[in-house]
Structure formats: C-alpha cells, structure tokens
C-alpha cells in the first residue's frame, strides 16, 4: 500500500487538511486518512463540516508567476500607454527611439502580441494561422523595447488631477498617459454578442478560425463597409458560402461613389458572394439543430453556420470621460501633437477624433506615434519643438477582385468627378475650394 499522503482543502476558509500531519487538536493522529475522519469532525479554522472539504493538489512551483503582474505603488512615474495594439506599440517604439532611459509601462486587456491587423481580413484565404500572423509576442516586444508590459489588465478609470490610472492590477502613477485602446465593434441590439462574431483583433480571429475548422461553412456577414467587403472576399476565396448584407443598396456606400461601388460589387459577385442591399437584420436566433437564423426586416430569414458583424466601430469613451477629457465621437486631440484636452494625456489610433471625425486607419499611426514621442520627450527635456503632424491619409481596400485606393479624406456628401472610367480602371477626384481633396483609383 502506498504511503502517498493526500491533502484536502476547506472550501470555506482554505485550510488544508494534510493526512500526513492529521489534526492533533481534534484527536486525529498523523497518518489519519481523510475517509477515516469521523463525520462530526469540523474544520479546525472555520468550523464547517468534513463534507465541505475537497481534494487538494498543491500548484506546481512557478505557476503563480504565470499570473499577470500586480502593480506595486512607489515606482517612478513614467509614460503609461493604455492599449497593446499597433498604436500602443508604435508609441512605445517611438519613445524608446528618442529616449533610451524613458520609463514606459504598457497596460493592455489583451496579450499584447504584435500582428498586423489589416491582415486579419485576408488571412483565411491565404491559409495563415494565428502563429503566422503573430510577429512577436507581447513579452518579446516588451523585452526588446524595455517596456514593462501589464498584459490582461484592464484600465478602469483615470484620476487626471493626481495623474493616476486605476486598473484591475492596481493603481499606476504616470508622468504622461497615452490612450491607444482603440475602438470596439459597435453591435446593434439585433446582433447579440453571444451569437455574432466580430473580427477586430487577433484573439477573436483565432477563436473564429478554430471554430470554422476545415469544413465549408455558410457565413452571413452583416455590414458591407471596408471590413465587411474584405472579409466577404476572403471567406469566399477560402471556399465558404458568403452572404453579405447591408442597409444601403450598394457596398461601401458611405465612402465610395456609385461607379466604384459597382466595380467592387462585380468583383465580389464573380467570387460567389451573394450581396443583399437595402436590408436590415432584425434578429439572430439559434435553431434547435445549432445553426443560426438571421431574420431580415422584410420578413425572410437566412440560415447560417456563422454570423459575422462588420457594423462599424465605436470608441468606448468611459476612460476618457472619467478623466474629464473633451470627447467628440472619439477622444478629441490636437492633430499636430495628438494631445487631448489634458496637458499630459495623449491619444492616437482608432480611439481619437480629429475635428469631430474618427480616423480608424493604420496608415497615420506611425506619424501620430512620432508626434506624441516628440511632444513627450521634448516636454521631459524642456525642449518644446513643434511636432510634425500626421501624414495625409491613404486608404486601400484589400479586395483583390477589385482593389481600390483613396488618397486624402473624402467628404461622404461631396461630389466626385470622373477622370477616367474604362476597362483599364476608374479614377475619380473630389475638389473643394479649388484644391484636390481626395483621389480614388479602382
């Protein structure tokens, strides 16, 4: 018979009964097996009964180290970045390039892994895996840049008057705070979060990819904006049956003139994507066979294995509001320095708004990060050099069936002039007050 002694833990107070030691105060000699303890024995610490104990195995050494680091007070306040996506890491890299000694802390709700988000909407048809998309883990990036990374920690509130960030890992004091927490998919009530996928970060994409497996799936994509159109093409190229829905009559109606939408639609249709324009989803239900029913406003329903919502993004303004920052759909910033209405708080990327307009593209992030690094390091050394503003925008729609490039920031209500419309391509321009505002090539 083995002499392996077992341990049992009290579910109420955490006391551990060790068979090897017994409980001499209660008359249980060392070596008393748990099953031999009388039924009226009680926990020597809290008094609950034997039935409230359960088998216990001591955790492996080092397991505690795998938990997210807990913040300790008393560190020298430095730059604190909220958000471990492209924007947050871009600021960390730009700061490090300008100041080898800067204290940089990055707080992020995700793992902080570095990947290129736009690749998420083309990855499936290219046979990519999450590991292939991941360029560097958060820990590797933190080591490379000398950043203290607090991964899987949520930022809760900002005490701007005392320059403190409240997080689920404790309170962090900052000299400068950079908000790079992005925007979240805006789900209408008709698309419940427990039934509808969103592809806005690597973690979600990885889960969706795993669930899709290798079978051919029927996928309904709600919303034919940039992400919806790109995902529709990607899923269709990967062999899945794709239905693309939008409340507008044509895809990307908010951004593109109708001539460009038409080319886009032709390209998608040629790949087998079924587009239904002018319809709204009224609800999604799970049927008894596990598949989903997507109900439309004109009464019909579409059966689907997966529903993916691409209904746009919205900035969660809770953090900014807790700091009393000016908000305007996003966090209002000065476009030259990316400074918010509080002097030592900056913001960039998907969470900001510039002149009331959100700017949710990857292209300007590097310029924004450089401007912030310059403003912060300049401030630290007392050198207030003027920051260079973000570069002009370029938007590229990664639909290989009909790729579209837009330079500048088009006005959704503005008129477009056709410069060229032929088999070779479509070129259109938007002018205002005698200057070229935007140029589109399809």
């Amino acid at each position: 018979m083995s002499e392996t002694w077992r341990q049992y833990i009290c579910r109420a107070c955490g006391l551990i009964y060790d068979e090897a030691k017994g409980d001499e105060d209660s008359g249980l000699a060392p070596g008393t097996r748990f099953e031999d303890i009388p039924g009226d024995w009680a926990c020597p610490l809290c008094g609950v009964t034997k039935a409230d104990f359960e088998p216990y195995e001591a955790p492996m050494a080092g397991a505690a180290l795998a938990q997210p680091a807990v913040v300790t007070a008393g560190r020298r306040p430095g730059v604190v970045i909220v958000g471990g996506g492209a924007a947050g890491w871009a600021v960390a890299a730009a700061l490090r390039a300008q100041d080898p000694d800067a204290s940089i802390t990055l707080v992020t709700a995700c793992a902080g892994d570095i990947y290129n988000k736009p690749e998420l909407s083309v990855a499936l048809s290219r046979g990519m895996s999450a590991d292939g998309l991941r360029r560097e883990t958060g820990d590797q990036a933190a080591a490379r840049l000398g950043v203290r990374l607090l991964a899987k920690i949520h930022a809760i509130a900002i005490d701007a008057g005392r320059s403190r960030l409240r997080t689920t890992g404790g309170i962090i004091s900052y000299s400068h705070l950079v908000l790079a927490h992005g925007a979240k998919p805006a789900l209408p009530r008709s698309l419940p979060s427990n039934l509808c996928w969103r592809v806005n970060d690597l973690g979600a994409w990885e889960q969706l990819r795993a669930r899709m497996g290798e079978a051919t799936q029927r996928i309904v994509i709600v919303g034919a904006g940039m992400v919806g159109c790109e995902l529709a093409e990607d899923f269709a190229r990967a062999g899945h049956g794709v239905t693309l829905l939008d409340v507008e009559a044509r895809p990307l109606a908010g951004l593109l003139p109708s001539q460009a939408s038409d080319r886009l639609l032709q390209g998608l249709t040629a790949l087998g994507v079924r587009f239904h324009g002018g319809v709204a989803v009224t609800g999604v239900d799970r049927r008894s066979d596990g598949r989903l029913n997507v109900a439309l406003d004109h009464g019909s329903t579409i059966a689907a294995d997966f529903v993916v919502a691409a209904t746009g993004l919205a900035t969660d303004l809770r953090l900014a509001v807790s700091a009393g920052l000016l908000v305007d759909g996003g966090i209002a910033v000065d476009p030259a320095s990316m400074r918010t209405s509080a002097p030592n708080i900056f913001a960039l990327g998907d969470c900001v708004s510039i002149d009331g307009q959100p700017c949710r593209f990857v292209e300007p992030i590097a310029g924004q990060a450089g401007a912030i690094a310059q403003a912060i390091t300049g401030a630290l050394t007392g050198d207030e050099r003027p920051a260079s503003g973000p570069a002009p925008l370029v938007i590229r729609l990664k639909t290989r069936s009909a790729p579209i490039t837009i330079h500048g920031a088009p006005d959704p209500q503005g008129a477009w002039r056709v410069i060229q419309d032929s088999r070779d391509g479509l070129v259109m321009e938007q002018w205002r007050d005698g200057t070229l505002r935007s140029r589109l090539a399809a």
């Binding site: 809290c46 008094g47 409240r166 689920t168 979240k184 996928w197």
Partner: protein, 379 residues
C-alpha cells in the same frame, strides 16, 4: 417587541435626511465613540443599534422610506467614523432589510420588516459565500432539496455576522436534484432558533463585536413563508449594486475617522508630520471626490448598465484602497500614541483591512471588473 409598539413607532418614521444624519452624529460622538474599543474586542452593541434604528439610520434605504441609499451610506459613514464594527453591523442590517422588503410573504415584508427598519428586531446576512459562488470563485456551501412544503437546507457557513439566538439572517442555497446537479438557487431567511446551530468562530484580530458565528444547518425546513426569492439570481442582480454601494459607507467613515486622528495631533506634531506622505488635506480632497462620486451613483442603484456597474465596483475598490492609505497615515501621524492598544489609529488599521478583505474583497472586485470588461463571443 409587541405589535402595538411597532404601530406607535410607525407613525414616527417620517425621518428627514437631516434628522437621520444629526441623530447618527450625536450617537457617534457620544455613546458609540466611548464604546468603540470595547466593541472592537467583543461587545455586541445592540443597544446602540437600537438607537441608530430609532433615528432612522437602518431604514432610510428601503423603498417604503424613500429608497434614500445615499442617506443610508452617509449614516453608515457617520457611525463608522467612531467605530468600523458598528458600520459593518449597519451594513449587514441594511442588506437584510433589502431581502425582507422583497419577500412575497407579508410576514416578512410588513411586520418583521418594519420592526427591522426601526431597529426593534435585528438580523444580518450570510451572502459572502453566495456572492463569491455567483462570481465563480467558490461553490455554494448550502444545498437545498425540494420537499412538499418547501425546501430542506443543509450545510455550514463559516461566518455570519449580526446574528444571535432569536435573530435572523438572509442566506442562499443551491437547489440540487437527486443527481447532485444544481437547478437554481433560493434566497431565504434563516431564523436562529433551536434548529440552527451557532458555533463560535476563531478569534479575529478586530471587529470582534459584530457577533459573528459559524452556522450549521442540518436539513432545515424552509417553508414558503421564509422564502425571499426563488429563483434567487434575478433578485440578486437587482440588489447587487445597492449591496456593494452600501459597503462604501464603512470606508468613507473609516477615512473620516483617520482624518480626525491626524488633525487631532496636528497642533503638537505638525512640525514633523509635514514630512509624511498622504497628509490630511490631500486625503480629504481625494475622499471628498470619492464621496461625491458615491453619492451620485447612489441616486440610480437600479441603472444596471455595464458602465454603471463598472463605476460601482471601482468606487468600492477606491474606498477600500483609500481607507488603507488613510489608516496607515493616521498611525504614522500619531506615532507612539496611535500605537497604544486602545488608540483609534491602530483599531482603524484593522478596520480598514477588513474593508479591503470583506466580501467582495479588492481582489474579487477586480476579478469581477475584469470579467465585466471582457467582450463576449459565441461559445
């Protein structure tokens, strides 16, 4: 008590906010302040609780008395400024009132509730384990099985406060069918009569006057007359924010007491105390902001939205954190005199730590926040 007393007193329960707060201030500055060290070491101050009930401090948060959650928090703050244990008793009493008020059975929700609200009857709460169980941190310690005339409940709760023979408390049990699978939970009132075993707890480092006992239930029959909610989860979701917000009254009071301790020695020790961090004016400013935030949250306890829930949890955490800082600073400000066995600062250090570890503890609150802030995806 006899019902005539209750009826007489009911006429007098049109407490104004000012009457409640002035009444609490007078009790706190008088008998409660004097009794605080004895309560810390084990005196259960039912006489003082009765006085607090008489001035309305134990009833104003109830719907029948205007649902004035902010006033109830301020009353708890006033008492905790003198004695944190009494603040905790008020909290336990207040949340028990919320259970009674919701009960469908008039025996609980009229006669007993009215006596409870006025401090003529006393009862506490045993929801520490259930709150952690609902959060996924523990499993339910009480198990119930359906019988013809109600439920039979068995199990042990390690510590239930503000109870004694003849008193009562709110408890929750997981309802199990034969195969040990849990169908739902019930919330009910346990009357501490001969069927209920109260067992002494190990000695705590403080808060000993809160009459905290281990409770063992052995096939206790819970009839529909003592049921508060079946199923319990929707009810708990309704009162969850009130339950947590009310606890902030303890923290605010302990912080106010610490500020008193610091300012008391300022004329004598200010010359050297100015070299300390967390000076009284700094702490007072932060406490005033937190208090304003708590009072704003207390106006809409049934908001239920995600942002509101995050704010409530964060305010509760902030209260505990600030109480810890204030208590340490009060002890440092008072020096040796604050380290005397009967000195207020060393008692407040233990009271502040209680605020930080009582369910939901800081770590549970952060765990809950983390869950609340993690986006849901299809499973």
């Amino acid at each position: 008590m006899d019902s005539a007393t209750v009826l007489d007193r009911r006429i007098a329960t049109t407490w104004t906010d000012a009457e409640v707060l002035e009444g609490v201030a007078a009790i706190a500055a008088g008998p409660l302040r004097a009794a605080a060290p004895a309560i810390d070491h084990g005196h259960y101050p039912l006489d003082i609780m009765a006085e607090l009930g008489r001035v309305g401090a134990l009833g104003v948060h109830l719907k029948r008395h205007g649902g004035r959650l902010g006033v109830a928090i301020a009353a708890m703050e006033g008492a905790s400024r003198a004695c944190g244990s009494t603040g905790f008793l008020m909290w336990a009493h207040d949340v028990c009132g919320l259970y009674l008020e919701n009960a469908g059975n008039p025996a609980l929700s009229t006669t007993l509730l009215e006596a409870h609200a006025q401090g003529l009857a006393f009862g506490g709460t045993g929801l520490s384990n259930p709150m952690k169980a609902l959060s996924g941190v523990e499993s339910f310690l009480l198990r119930a099985r359906k019988v013809a005339n109600g439920y039979r409940v068995s199990g042990s709760l390690p510590w239930v406060s503000h109870i004694a023979p003849g008193q009562y408390f709110g408890a929750m049990a997981a309802v199990v069918d034969g195969a040990r699978s849990v169908s739902h939970e019930i919330l009910f009132i346990v009357r501490c009569d001969e069927r209920v075993q109260l067992r002494p707890c190990p000695t705590f480092s403080g808060m000993e006057g809160t009459s905290t006992w281990g409770v063992r239930l052995d096939d206790l029959l819970v009839t529909p007359a003592d049921l508060v909610a079946d199923p319990a989860r929707p009810f708990v979701a309704r009162i969850r924010e009130s339950f947590i917000l009310l606890q902030t009254g303890m923290a605010l009071g302990i912080i106010a007491g610490c500020l008193d301790d610091m300012r008391q020695v300022e004329p004598v020790l200010g010359r050297t105390n100015r070299f300390l961090a967390d000076r009284p004016d700094e702490l007072a400013a932060e406490a005033a902001e937190l208090r304003a935030r708590i009072m704003r949250l207390a106006e809409t306890p049934h908001d239920g939205g995600r942002d509101y829930r995050i704010e409530v949890l964060d305010a509760r955490i902030h209260g505990a954190e600030l109480a810890l800082r204030a208590a340490q600073s009060a002890l440092l400000h008072q020096g040796a005199r604050g380290y005397l066995a009967e000195a207020a600062p060393q008692r407040r250090v233990r009271e502040a730590h209680f605020c930080a570890i009582v369910t939901p503890a800081i770590k549970h609150l952060r765990f809950e926040l983390s869950k609340l802030m993690t986006d849901e995806y299809p499973s």
